[in-house]
């Protein structure tokens, strides 16, 4: 398990680093919201899920999608807008989805996915399935009314959903203390949802907390809320690489980066094991990048394909 978690955080880290390079080189148009620094959360949460479970993701979603097992080549191809992408190039970074793996989509609207995940989890239970939904969102989303409404529905109807708040300290440039009155876990508890703060930099701690939450959900005991504390090592979005936004001090960034999930998990492996995983990840990503770069661009004549379920 240690090795698996390490492989996941390492994969996400290196995937993001490569994606950032592709943004710089222009292969990825429009930029991305890098997940660098937050890998432990996606890795830990998804390791606690089973094959019939579902997740929803965010604008900062590559980590979730990879941790849930999506093909890195198809994710990279999606970021490049290629036909072989997860969404056939129609979604891009903020909408990556793979329904075959229960990835019901990244969502570009902050706070929107929590209620979608709640509905999906409720419906799967109605269908007699044992599924649980995990839904990711940031600290900023805690201020969106529609997410708070979702907490209420999930608690009222004891829906098997795990709310995963990735508290990275900021919503873009807005510090969490200026944006969230009261506490994050207190807000969830106010809806009668058990809420815990977890060290999001440690994938094993996240896995442990999520496993408990998933077991609770499967046992019919309803939602759990996990506040995973973390730090965004990089920009809010790659556009920040071009502009100078001065909302974080250099000291703060240095301190924030000092607890790195890849290092924390890596230290649990022998040097040899770690090197082996690193090499495996590199070759996987090398292949993925190659496949993505070599994939066809979609045909502009098919720009409106999939707009409706059928002919209209």
């Amino acid at each position: 398990m240690s090795t698996d978690l390490y492989r996941t955080v390492r994969l996400i880290r290196r995937f993001e680093e490569r994606a950032i390079e592709f943004v710089r080189s222009g292969e990825i148009v429009g930029g991305i919201h890098p997940y660098v620094g937050q890998e432990g959360i996606a890795a830990g949460v998804c390791a606690a899920l089973g094959p019939d479970d579902v997740i929803t993701s965010t604008h900062r979603g590559h980590g979730h999608v990879l941790a849930r097992g999506a093909n890195p080549a198809r994710l990279m191809a999606e970021l490049m807008g290629r036909e072989s992408g997860l969404n056939k190039g129609r979604g891009g970074s903020m909408h990556a989805a793979d329904f075959s793996l229960g990835i019901l989509g990244a969502n570009a609207i902050v706070g929107a996915a929590g209620s979608i995940a709640t509905g999906a989890a409720w419906a799967l239970r109605q269908q007699g399935k044992d599924s649980v939904a995990a839904t990711f969102f940031g600290d900023g989303a805690m201020n969106e009314g529609m997410l708070l409404e979702a907490f209420n529905l999930a608690a009222l109807w004891q829906v098997p959903v795990v709310f995963v708040c990735e508290n990275n300290g900021y919503a873009t440039t807005m510090p969490v203390a200026s944006a969230v009155a009261g506490s994050i876990t207190g807000r969830a508890r106010a809806f009668g949802i058990p809420a815990f703060t977890v060290d999001g930099q440690d994938p094993e701690k996240v896995l442990e907390a999520t496993s408990t939450a998933v077991a609770r959900a499967r046992a019919g005991k309803g939602p759990t809320f996990l506040e995973c504390t973390t730090y965004r090592f990089d920009a809010h979005h790659t556009f920040e690489h071009r502009t100078r936004l001065t909302y974080r001090s250099t000291e703060e960034i240095t301190t924030g980066r000092s607890r790195c999930p890849v290092e924390i998990q890596g230290a649990r492996l022998t040097a040899a094991d770690r090197a082996a995983v690193d090499a495996e990840v590199e070759s996987l990503l090398e292949a993925a990048a190659g496949i993505a770069l070599g994939s066809a661009h979609p045909d502009p004549a098919a720009a409106l394909s999939y707009l409706y379920a059928g002919e209209i």
Binding site: G85, N87, A97, A112, M146, L307
Partner: protein, 320 residues
């Protein structure tokens, strides 16, 4: 033949679909007690798992329906008032509508949004009297505004079975319409297919929902002076362009009576389509709510802001 009211037709359509397809469920505010009567008897018959009373959390329960649809359900949401659709505009236009294309066709979002009591509710005033079908047509969400009990039944059934989101507007002023109907003949009505509610030669009146009945009454009244064709598109989007054009090409003249606001409303679209395709013998006319209309409370003012028989009659006479 038994009489079926529009309201009862909606109730029957819901019951039939709940019966037919276990993936269908209904959610909304006060639907177990059936405050609007649309869901009368459904909770007793289908139980709490399929008839869900929601808290006042429109945004979350609209997305909740999307989530359920993404994993195979066919939710039907009842909204108590038309302006609640404003509150969930993001959830319908930006989420439910967009999932299919954004995911490259990986999923479907078969949710039906029903507003039983759209338009003026006579005395409910500014924030409860909108009829916002044109907005949904503009963003490309399938939108229906049936006029008759048979169409209300048939289009609601079709909406529920459709694999895309569909907004279903039941005009407040149409809920009481009753027709003699052979219940066995109730059947799905396809989206995007209009009907000639009355054939005529001199002018085409395009009308939707309750205004179809007003248009028919005016056509009757004018029968000695002109032969009015009443075309009811039934679906606002997709629009039955062929049916519309066929009618206007025959009559050469066009009036649209439309209970939404004038600017960029349904009537504007009808005029635009006709301008693109037909040559008219007189300038087309719109009989609509005024630009930016907010319905005042006082009854005479509420009525003054809505298009009705008198305005249609005057308009037709001016054209003749």
């Amino acid at each position: 033949m038994p009489k079926l009211s529009y309201l009862k037709a909606l109730n029957r359509a819901l019951a039939d679909e709940l019966e037919r397809d276990p993936a269908v469920f209904v959610l909304g505010e006060d639907i177990r007690a059936a405050a609007s009567n649309v869901t009368a008897g459904l909770h007793a018959r289908f139980g709490s798992d399929r008839v869900l009373d929601t808290p006042l959390s429109e945004q979350a329960f609209t997305n909740f329906a999307t989530g359920a649809a993404l994993v195979g359900m066919r939710p039907v949401i009842e909204f108590q008032i038309p302006s609640l659709l404003f509150l969930v505009f993001e959830q319908i236009a930006n989420q439910a509508h967009k999932f299919s294309l954004m995911t490259g066709g990986q999923c479907k979002v078969p949710v039906t949004y029903v507003v039983p009591g759209s338009g003026s509710r006579t005395g409910w005033a500014g924030q409860h009297s909108d009829h916002p079908y044109s907005l949904f047509a503009h963003v490309g969400v399938k939108t229906v505004v049936p006029a008759t009990p048979a169409d209300a039944y048939g289009l609601l059934v079709t909406a529920i079975r459709d694999d895309d989101p569909v907004v279903f507007f039941a005009p407040s002023a149409a809920l009481g319409v009753r027709d003699d109907l052979d219940f066995a003949a109730l059947a799905p009505v396809p989206l995007g297919v209009g009907r000639v509610a009355r054939a005529g030669d001199d002018v085409t009146v395009v009308a939707l929902g309750h205004l179809v009945h007003d248009a028919l009454a005016v056509a009757d009244e004018l029968a000695q002076r002109m032969s009015v064709e009443v075309f009811d598109p039934r679906t606002v989007y997709p629009l039955d362009v062929d049916g519309l054009i066929a009618s206007v090409q025959k009559t050469g003249r066009l009036v649209v009576i439309d209970d939404s606001n004038r600017t960029s409303g349904f009537a504007a679209e009808v005029l635009a389509v006709v301008a693109e395709h037909c040559t008219l013998t007189a300038p087309p006319r719109r009989v609509t709510r005024p630009d930016g209309a907010v319905l005042p409370f006082a009854l005479a003012l509420d009525r003054a802001v809505q298009p009705g028989r008198e305005q249609l009659l005057t308009t037709l006479l001016e054209m003749s």
